[in-house]
């Protein structure tokens, strides 16, 4: 299935479009999307920091998703680096 992943915070610096498209298996878990993004970053983004991704959460528009959870049916997700509001 296709994943449309929105980028926020420091991830915006890697891709000005703030959007990444990934392909994962139809029965993929959130951990699989994380692995696909890690591979994408290592291949496409100069200066990519895997440690930042390790500390980042993945989410739908409704909730932060844990790695064991299934991917949203619509494939729309976001990567959330450590937050710093306020």
């Amino acid at each position: 299935m296709k994943i449309e992943l929105r980028l926020f915070g420091a991830f915006r610096d890697y891709d000005p479009s703030a959007l990444v498209h990934l392909e994962v298996a139809d029965d993929a878990r959130v951990a699989d999307v994380r692995a696909a993004l890690d591979a994408h970053g290592r291949a496409q983004w100069p200066g990519f920091q895997p440690a930042l991704l390790q500390r980042s959460a993945l989410a739908s528009e409704d909730a932060v998703l844990r790695d064991h959870e299934t991917v949203p049916h619509d494939g729309r997700m976001a990567v959330l680096p450590p937050v710093s509001g306020g």
Partner: protein, 163 residues
């Protein structure tokens, strides 16, 4: 009763007076307000502004969940105002405004503190500081992977915060 908002700095500035008005009630003797502003110095570097990025839909859901937790803790009469700015702010601009209104001051102080800490620790909001030397840096923050609950421990958070 709660007001949750994300306000783009291009559209309007956050208004602490509006926050006080919203949480006011003839039966309330206590109103606590937290107003976070952009300051001109951080870790020894001269700051000229801050840009706030956010995931609007999830942030608003988070604000509503934070408000629900506060109502569960302090009772249904509690009135809350939660607003965060988005976009490029200048030194002195209000970045976040939280207000809590209750019959007595103790609950107002505690509710306001609980809400601002939860907003800082759990909301999908990111701060990029701009410095006088032209450099810009995304601030380190709280990992949502490591949080076991929406509200991190108020007194013993996982890392150091600026006030």
């Amino acid at each position: 009763m709660t007001s949750c908002a994300i306000v783009d700095i291009v559209q309007a500035a956050l208004d602490p007076v509006a926050a006080i008005d919203f949480v006011s009630d003839p039966g309330f003797g206590g109103i606590a307000l937290f107003a976070g502003r952009v300051r001109d110095l951080n870790h020894g570097r001269v700051v000229t502004g801050v840009s706030y990025d956010m995931f609007d839909a999830l942030a608003l859901r988070g604000f509503e969940a934070i408000a629900a937790d506060a109502h569960a803790a302090f009772g249904p009469r509690l009135k809350l105002f939660i607003a965060h700015a988005r976009g490029r702010l200048s030194v002195g601009d209000f970045a976040v405004v939280i207000a809590a209104g209750t019959p007595h001051r103790d609950e107002a102080f505690r509710a306001c503190r609980q809400v601002i800490e939860a907003v800082k620790h759990s909301s999908p909001i990111w701060k990029q500081e701009h410095y006088a030397d032209g450099d810009s840096v995304w601030s380190e923050g709280c990992s949502l992977c490591e949080a076991s609950a929406p509200q991190a421990d108020i007194e013993h958070g996982p890392h150091r915060h600026s006030p």
